[in-house]
Amino acid sequence: MKQQSELLKSAKLILRDPLGLLGLVIVIALVGSAIFAPSLAPFNPTAIDMKARLSGPTASHWLGTDQLGRDTFSRMILGGRVALQVALPSIAAALGLGLLLGMVAGYGPRWLDNAIMLLFDTLRSFPTVMLALSFVALVGPSLGTVMLVVIVTSAPIYGRIARTQTMTLKSSEFITAEEAMGARMPRILLIHILPNILGTLVVLASMDIPAVIALEAGLSFLGMGVKPPTPSWGSLLKDGYALIRSTPWLIIAGALPIVMTTLGFTFLGEALRDVADPKLRRTR
């Protein structure tokens, strides 16, 4: 009961923050449109209609069509689905891996800590896009490649934070008491440390979702992400770039959702962070 009222209070706090509310609306709209994409999209996003190619906005094609006559609006809606399909699992996996390694580094022996930290430092030493491109060069472009890059480059960030927080908790009295009663490392990490650090990290990770979406879009823009004809915001931009002298609609349809998504997750994340940790209130 107590937890429920805490949740309710948090929800109320978010709803009271106008930017947080806006962020929530955008995120819900994005997730909703991704789930119901096939029924929301007025056209089949891969259906070619050469008669209607390169049209501007009309009553049936709200955002015009591309060089093959495919409906831009439908491709935009379906693109959101691809974006979330990449972002959510990869961020979740990165968070899981980061938490595991970070907690072990923070709690385990010194040599293990040093080894894991060196691994983290190394993984963060690759410029993200360059690492992604070297993966692509090896195994070819695919959404799996993008996800792998996200896991490899994001896990160290969460891992470092998890490590610091674990180290702080490690010296606290209730952990010492548990140790005195003979609790083993897995039990302490899972039952006592994880619940205490999960919240902060989930908020942080949720704020990274737009960066992942932008990475997928960017790689797809370069032709190193999704394979055609799968619609993605990045491939919309890629087509738009090729057609930049004939129609601006593709670029707008590709850019708008990326910008809105980033704003949505940023506003929501900041509101969540304020609720979770009032000390970190934004100073904007």
Partner: protein, 314 residues
């Protein structure tokens, strides 16, 4: 300080070694092999084997890694098997273009962002403070390649103010600057708000410290207090941030070089992936990673050198 410098550069070298080893192990573990990828599906097994031997992929992994570092120490990044030129030569031909772009993309945001940040910190809730706050969120939401596309669309295609593609006449500084304007603007735009926000937060912290009160009590001008006494402390975290930012700048440069069809490391990598020129891709990734690792190390060293509390303790 000397000891610290050696230690920090040593760490950078260690990170580069581990990073490159990881990359080589990964290449080894990937199903299929680069030789087959490079030659395409129609190549005979004999041709693949020949290329494999030429690239040293037939040797055991540990030998490959050893040879790699031995060659790296001599500045040898392998051979481009298609053009028969050293990879190092190809990469270092393109590197100056990328460095020039990165410089153009970061210098103006650092200057403008710092001024805006200091102003916002000393004039809280003023119009400029609010505008900077909004700008920092709004612009960060647009990744560099999206900004690049719109910059291209608006300023090069529609208004035709600035050239759309290329890097300009290499002998004319003014021309090169003209070609740098749009790409530099596109990458830098999101940095203005970001840096302003960081500087503002850092300055607000410093301005609350007791020594600022002392400076005021001695009648120093607000200008000198903000831009002299407080900024000297408030800028320190920004330097570290810029070192880490090198990774983002290198990533953004890839997209921007493609959008504006500028020569540079990013375009080299993409073109090499398209032509399956695997050694060049690896060489370029290696050089850009080294650049990133080195820039974080330099940022740390610069931070220590600028902060006497750290400098004299080391």
């Amino acid at each position: 300080m000397l000891f610290y410098t050696i230690k920090r550069l040593g760490l950078a070298a260690l990170i580069i070694v581990v990073a490159m080893t990881l990359l080589l192990v990964m290449v080894h573990m990937v199903p299929g092999d680069p030789a087959r990828t490079m030659l395409g599906p129609r190549a005979t097994p004999e041709m693949q084997e020949a290329l494999r031997i030429r690239m040293g992929l037939d040797k055991p992994l540990i030998t490959q890694i050893g040879l790699f570092f031995l060659n790296l120490l001599r500045g040898d990044l392998g051979m481009d098997v298609f053009e028969n030129r050293p990879v190092a030569t190809i990469v270092f031909e393109q590197l100056p273009y990328t460095l020039e772009l990165i410089a153009a993309a970061i210098i103006w945001p650092v200057v403008l962002g710092t001024i805006l940040g200091v102003y916002s910190a000393s004039h809280r809730n003023s119009l400029i403070d609010r505008l900077t706050g909004v700008l920092s969120i709004a612009v960060v939401a647009a990744p560099a390649f999206v900004v690049s596309l719109f910059a291209l669309l608006i300023f090069a295609v529609q208004l035709q103010w600035l050239p759309a593609i290329g890097a300009g006449d290499p002998d004319s500084f003014a021309d090169r600057l003209r070609y740098l304007a749009l790409p530099g603007f596109s990458i830098g735009l999101s940095w203005v708000g970001y840096i302003a926000r960081m500087v503002r937060a850092s300055m607000l912290e410093v301005l609350g410290e007791p020594h600022i009160r002392t400076a005021r009590a001695f009648g120093l001008s607000e200008w000198r207090i903000h831009y002299g006494y407080a900024l000297k402390l408030g800028i320190l975290p920004i330097i570290t941030m810029l070192g880490v930012g090198m990774g983002f700048l290198l990533s953004a440069a890839v997209f921007t070089e493609m959008v504006f069809a500028r020569p540079g490391i990013g375009k080299l990598v993409i073109d090499s992936i398209t032509s399956r020129n695997y050694p060049v891709v690896m060489g370029a990734v290696l050089v850009s990673t080294m650049l990133f690792v080195l820039s974080t190390a330099i940022a740390d060293l610069a931070n220590a050198a600028l902060d006497p509390r750290v400098r004299k303790a080391l």
